[in-house]
Structure formats: C-alpha cells, structure tokens
Subunit: 436 residues, 2 copies
C-alpha cells in the first residue's frame, strides 16, 4: 500500500484560484425535486423508521451535503472552486454520431454526450470533487468510501488529491485481486486502497472470522468504510451514487447537453442513459425532465439497465436498505432486495440491487421509461459504436448505446436521439475481448 504521508500532503485548500472558467461550465446544479408534481418519499432511520434528521447524518456527511440531500431549491449554486475543478475537463463534448447513423441507415440524428474525457474516464468525478470540496470546507481531512470495480474509488482519490484530503478506500476483494489497474490509479493519486473485508474494522474482522474465504461485496465494503468514518472525528464518508446530492452534482451532464443542443438548434426527442445506482441517468436526464415539467417539452427518457440486474423493470418499489447488513437508512426505491446478488456481469457499475430514490420516484410518476438490455446485445452495440465513432464505450455505457441503436434502427422519420456515454472502456478491454 502506498500513500502520501500526512506530513507531505498539503493542507486542504478550498478557496478559488482565480482561474477563468468558461461560461459553458454550468454555474448551478439543477434539482429535480423543485419541479416534481409530488415530493420524493423521505429516507427513514433504520431503527426508528422515522424520517431521517440532519443529525442522523452528521457523523458521516458535512452539513452542506445534508442540506442538499433534502433541498427542494431548483438551482443550487456551484462553488467557484468546484467550477474551477470542473473546468479541467468540462464542458464535456456533445458529438453528432454521423458515422453511426450511416452504419445504421437511420433517418434519426444521434448525438452522444461523452463523460469519458474526465481524468478517470467516467462521470464519477463530477460528484467526487464536489463532495471533497464541501468536506474540506468543514474541516474534514479524510474521506472513506467503498468501491467495486474501482471507478468511484479512483474518482474520489483524485478529488481528494486535488483538494488536499486523504482518502481511504475499501475495495471488494474479488475486484481488488482481479482488477489491479483501478487500485494502482487510486495509489497514484495518493489514496489508500484496502481489500474488503479487512482486518482494519470490527465489521471486516467479524466477516472474516465467519467466512475467511469470502470474496467480499459492496455491502461489506460499505460497512467498513462507514465504520472507519464514524470512528474518526477527522473523517467523513462519501458515496458515489444513489443519494440525492450525488444526482444533483451530476446534473451538469444534462444541463450542458441541453445547452449544447440549444446552441445548434436541436431539441432532443429521446434520451438514453444507462442505469445502475442512478447517478449517471439522473445527471443526464433530470435537466431534460425539468424542462418537460416547466416548459412543456416532450423529451422522452429511457433508462437502460442490465437484464441481469433489472431493478426498475423487475424490482419492487418499496423501502429497502442500501447495503446488505441493513445499516444504512431505508430508501424508497425500486429494488431487487438487499440480498439480491447480481451475477458477475462486466458492467460492474450497474450491479446494484436498488435504484436511486429520485430516479425511482420519477419512474413511478411516469416521467421516464425503462428497458432491460442483455449483456451480449450491449457489447455488440459497444463494438458497433467503437468501429463507427472511435470511442470504445464503458460496459455500463453500452447499455444506453444498445437502447439507442435499437431505437434508431426502428425509426422511420427524422428524430433526435441523445446517448449518455458515461465513460470509456479502456480498462474494460478484457470484457470486450471475452465477448469477441
């Protein structure tokens, strides 16, 4: 394990640096809660089953994020320091996929919004830098988190490096052992990555005592990361998806896409986004839904989830825990049940038993639809996209590509399709290889 010793890591610095940020980087996050016809059901305390209070969350999150979690303000100002960080890779490109259109022989115009230009190659840093910022402002010096395949752990490690925080990540043992690149990425950023379950927490020791050979799970890793944060006054915990404040931060994706379409005089007829925990889908789609609700536009949103983990198309809409152990708050969401073990599909970022409460609520209200995509169809679409457009999409993103391609093939009239390309698949090439 390699990290930056505390004494050489600079103290957190949160003031703006005076960089000129392009006006095309959003100034505010968009909050769908302001425009929903019915409010989203609240999270409940796992013990009392009463709505959570800010005090319940204070040991884990800074007050600014807790406030965002329950905010119904439509526009939340993005701190200038965060905008300066966004400007390192934002605005992300919106590109017309002309070669794909030609290959499909479709009358539709297809655009993709590409988040793979971020330093870690996915949309995750959009919330990682915001979360690191608010924690640094409140005097926190370390963040803990869990990670599966490692995209979130790498993103948070990067954000912590940029803001002068330490970062400690519990990575599911199966991925820790089999997918070393993301761990190396965390360490290059100065993060510390542990195999989970570990001997470092009571939760980890208990799991190892009962099952020394366990390959770990996200649920176990969450327990360890939460315990590590809760027992260290200088530390907080960070989550990469599901929660409202995470989706809020990701709204830069959809806002930019709307502005980029407006600039070229295009209106989106249908938006395809991949759906795992919901942060990419929410970030991409909510600004479109908000415009539908406020201005009467009729953009359709299609959530594309893996057939192997179909929380929206097959799950129940009910209160459930976010983790296996049942330690997290209860969230009203579409869920396959906290004990559902998704098969080991390649789109690791979509292997979650539940769907973000805000996405679930919007789906339940009929504001979006959902489809389940088979893994083979997703990879076939990813390869077709790569050979037409050059970018090899992340396995997660291929689900949105597959949805869009099927739609475009069936189109008989001109229409405008937007694909959310949440990341690139450079570190997932073995999955493509296996498919080929």
């Amino acid at each position: 394990m390699t990290t930056t010793p505390d004494d050489v890591r600079p103290a957190p610095r949160t003031e703006p640096l005076g960089v000129t940020v392009p006006s095309t980087v959003p100034t505010h996050w968009y909050n769908l809660a302001a425009d929903l016809p019915e409010p989203c059901p609240p999270a409940l305390h796992p013990g009392t089953r009463e709505p959570l209070t800010p005090d319940d969350l204070a040991p884990l999150f800074p007050m600014a994020l807790i406030a965002q979690e329950v905010s119904t303000e439509r526009w939340v100002e993005i701190p200038q320091t965060v905008r300066e960080l966004y400007a390192l890779w934002r605005p992300s490109p919106l590109v017309r996929a002309v070669r794909l259109e030609r290959a499909l022989g479709t009358p539709a115009r297809i655009y993709y919004k590409y988040e793979g230009v971020s330093p870690v190659g996915s949309h995750k840093p959009n919330t990682a830098v915001a979360q690191a910022y608010y924690n640094a402002v409140e005097g926190i010096t370390k963040l803990t988190t869990e990670t599966g395949a490692g995209q979130w752990g790498a993103s948070l490690s990067m954000a912590c490096a940029l803001l002068g925080l330490r970062c400690e990540v519990w990575q599911v043992r199966a991925s820790y052992d089999s997918k070393p690149y993301r761990r190396m990425q965390m360490e290059t950023y100065g993060g510390v990555c542990h195999s989970s379950p570990s001997e470092l927490t009571a939760a980890g020791r208990a799991i190892l005592a009962s099952d020394p050979e366990t390959t770990g799970s996200l649920g176990m890793a969450i327990s360890e990361a939460v315990e590590a944060a809760a027992t260290d006054p200088a530390a907080h915990y960070a989550l990469g998806s599901v929660l409202n404040h995470v989706l809020l931060h990701q709204s830069v994706i959809g806002q930019e896409a709307l502005a980029q379409l407006d600039e070229i005089g295009e209106g989106a007829d249908v938006v395809f986004g991949c759906a795992g925990g919901g942060s990419n889908l929410g970030g991409l789609a909510f600004p479109f839904l908000g415009r539908n609700l406020r201005e009467g536009t009729t953009t359709r949103v299609v959530a594309c989830e893996p057939a192997a983990c179909p929380s929206m198309t097959q799950g129940e809409y009910r209160y459930d825990f976010g983790d296996v152990a049942g330690l997290t708050p209860l969230l009203k969401m579409h869920t396959l049940g906290k004990d559902f073990v998704p098969p080991p599909i390649h789109a690791g970022g979509l292997r979650y038993h539940g769907m973000a409460p805000m996405v679930s609520h919007a789906y339940e209200l009929g504001l979006m639809s959902a489809i389940a995509v088979e893994q083979g169809d997703a990879f076939a679409a990813g390869i077709e996209f790569a050979r037409a457009e050059g970018i090899i999409p992340a396995p997660e993103s291929t689900h949105a590509v597959a949805g869009a391609i099927a739609h475009a093939r069936a189109a008989t009239e001109p229409e405008t399709i937007v694909i959310g390309l949440s990341g690139n698949g450079i570190l997932d090439l073995p999955a493509y290889h296996q498919y080929l």
Copy 2:
C-alpha cells in the same frame, strides 16, 4: 484472433459527411520545411545511396503521402473528411495548470496541451486517420504496420475502422505477451494483431528458424509489416512516427496550441515536448518554430528524451537505417545506431534508436535544445502532475512534465511554459505502481 470478415466490413468511404466542423479545428497542416533556413537532407535508397524517388516508395505508400514527404509547401490543406474525423476529439484542450503552479511555488504560468482526449488516449490518431484516408482514396483496402507497446497499432486499427479499411498489425512478441490491453483494443476495432516474429512472413519465419525463443523487436516487426504490404497489391504500409508526412499531420497539435494561447493573449516562452521518434515533439513544436522563423518570436523548444535512449543528446548525426535489418531507406538523423537496444523502460513510445530527420535537422540548426530525463525523475513528475491536475500522464509525456517542472521550479520571473501532454497513462498504471 478476431477480425471483421471482408464481406461484412463496409467498403471504404472517403467523401465528407457534411458535418459542421468547428473553426478551431485547423484547416491546414503546417510544414516546417517551408521555413527552414537550409533544406532537410533527403532520404537515400538503401541500395544505391541515391536520394529516394517517389517510385521507390510507391509500393508502400499512396502518392499523396509520398508528395507530402518531400513537400516544401508551407500550408497543406487538410481534406474535409479528415477534419470531420479530427472533430471527433479536436481541438484538444489547452489547460492552465494552476494547481501545479501553486504546488511548485513558481512565478511561471504553466499550460498543458492534452492529447489524451482522443479515443485511444494519445496523439497517434492525428496521423492515423490522415494516412488511412489517403490510402482509401487511392483504392487501398488494407494497411499493415508494426507496433511496440501498441498505441500506434490501436490508433491505426481505429482509423481503419472509421474509414472502412482492414488493418493488420505485427506487435513485438514481448509486448504481445505482456501487455494484452492494446491488442484487445486493436481487436475491438476489428484489427488483426499478430505476435512478431510470426510464421506469416518470410522475414518472420527466417528469424524464428534461427532464434525460436526471440522476444521480438520493432525492427523485426517492421520487416514483417513491410513484407506483408509489399506482397499484397491491395495493401499499403503505415508508419506512426519519424517520417515527414507523419510530423506534418501532427502539426495540428502546435497550431491549436498557438491559436489557444493567442486567444487568451499569452505568448509561449518555452515549450517542453517528449521525444521518441519525434512525431509528438515535431507536431507540438514546429508551428512555434515556424512562427519564430517567420515573425521573429523567441519561443524556446526543449526536447525531453529518456536518459536510457538519448538519441539527440548522445547520438551521432548521420545517415542510418530505420530498422535493425537495414531494409528501410537511409535517414539523416540523430541516432544511437540501428543495433542499439534500448533498455526496457516504461516509456515504450520513446524507445527508438533514431530521431525524426526533420527534428534532427532543426536541432542541428540550433532551432531547439534537448535534455535527457532519468526514468525515476519522469515518474516523480508524473505523480506530482497527477495529484495537482488530475490527469495521470503517459510515461512518455512524463518526460516533458519533468523538464517543465524543473524549469518552473528554477524560474524567478513570470514566464509562460507549455507542456505537450501527448497522452494519458491509464494503460500504463502498472509502471506507476512499480515506481511507487
């Protein structure tokens, strides 16, 4: 091995698609030959030692590229189809590295020009799409090439996919066996990748007969790729660096950087670029040198090469072969000798015994300087950059970062530094890991 069968790969299509290309994507390539105070010495035929004629090259290259190879025209128009392809990822960003400046405590302003946003993560596609285009226009249906670590092979495979050509790559066996990701990338694009030496060519069979256990070399792989192209009337050969036409295509890097600096009212005092075969360095630096020569600006250019393969700082300036077997034309260049075997450093893209003739000539004329960077210093600089700016630079690029950081630390007055960040290091994380 996986590829697209001939009958399903679409026929080459080279006409523009009518996409709107941003005006910030250059319309012309810049050719330093037009502004040099003395002409670059010509390439010589390996047999006669007379200057090469177009006919000598015709079996391997299309006439348009042969013409570019000897052109002294200052501005060469970029075909609209190539500009449309460039627009998939260009213009690449020029970013102010404010956090790095602060970490260094330097009065200098540091900018980096980032080529890692291309679909394969480096600058190589800038010439790959141009070469594939000109070959497709002349009716060629297949390109062959060699590759070491695989960046060039992946770039050419992508370009061939975009233009409807087949692609066959001979990859040095040591990399083929130890670095599978780039091969998987080639195959995802529909390219075919062989371990070199192979049984598929006379050259490969001869090498294997005498040394069945050889780990291969770029020189051997060149021999195989050239033979495969020369013996197939439908095929040509493509080279990823060294030649004049390759550096010409890469001039989009420096031209964009100049325009981006002009737009914010900055003038570059010093430009740092990593130097292997010379395509990244030439592409970045020549437009700056051209402006120096035409307009009297005084931008300094510093070539940053690995201390383990120091062709500019330690090599002789003389005619030498491009390959080990002595089959290529003789090129006047700074060379460590065609038999020089660079140690297995991590910056595979910089492991070449010679330097591009045009770069060598400019260096000999005193138009640029050169430094050699130790691998450890390069990785230390890469990590410092990653933790300040988020991007993990390619091992090749870290040499330029190291040069720039040392310069910036020593600066006592404000000045403007430009770093050529030729690619990202996502697939090179094991090298970082080993360093850490």
